[in-house]
């Protein structure tokens, strides 16, 4: 069966520290992968999407970057976190119609 794993579930990081969130997909090949962020009280905002290994498209200029080193692995990173990076980060995948979301990471930058 197809599953998506995202970790960690919660994270508290100081301003200026680095970030690495990881998402992996099982049971499928060559999925489209996505990183979304949901700020408090707001809808989901698409940050990055990837249609293949090494192919990353950025939707919003920001302090974050994404990488896809393997077909089923998607990583969200930052060299130096800002307070405004706090939020709920969701990884998602699709191989056509329908999207599946990971369980999310709640990031608090202090």
């Amino acid at each position: 069966s197809q599953t998506i794993h995202q970790w960690p579930a919660t994270l508290v990081q100081p301003v200026g520290s680095p970030l690495s969130l990881e998402c992996t997909v099982e049971g499928t090949s060559n999925p489209n992968l996505y990183w979304y962020r949901q700020a408090a009280g707001r809808g989901l905002q698409l940050l990055f999407y990837s249609v293949g290994i090494g192919q990353i498209s950025s939707e919003v200029p920001q302090n974050l970057s994404a990488s896809r080193p393997q077909d089923r692995q998607f990583i969200l990173s930052s060299k130096k976190l800002l307070l405004s990076d706090s939020g709920f980060y969701l990884c998602a995948w699709t191989i056509g119609y329908g999207y599946t979301f990971g369980s999310g990471t709640r990031l608090t930058v202090v």
Binding site: N32, Y49, L90, Y97, Y99
Partner: protein, 112 residues
């Protein structure tokens, strides 16, 4: 720029009431419209509506897509406290790569 707007932003009703949530969109290349329910963590899928399937129903929930008006509604009848959640509308736009554009969501609260 693709845009999805949901209304109302929040809604408080009593258990047993019927509610209608609205979603309108402006996208360059419409492929489908999706409804999700988000409680505490990841959104869970409710419906997908395309040009070939403009009405969906599952139990007390139903959704209709109006491609002429570029909008969709989500109806919930005989609401229960377990229906309390944020309901997200998203549009899948295809221009070589599938991607979802989400609305801000409607926060629904059901009072016992």
């Amino acid at each position: 720029e693709d845009k999805v707007v949901q209304s109302p932003l929040s809604l408080v009703v009593h258990e047993g009431d019927t509610v209608t949530l609205n979603c309108s969109y402006e996208v360059t290349n419409f492929r489908s419209l999706l409804w999700y329910k988000q409680e505490k963590k990841a959104p869970t899928f409710l419906f997908m509506l395309t040009s070939s399937g403009i009405e969906k129903k599952s139990g007390r929930l139903s959704s209709i897509l109006d491609k002429k008006e570029l909008s969709s509604i989500l109806n919930i009848t005989a609401t229960q406290t377990g229906d309390s959640a944020i309901y997200l509308c998203a549009v899948d736009s295809s221009f070589g790569n599938e991607k979802l554009t989400f609305g801000t969501g409607t926060r629904l609260t059901i009072i016992p």
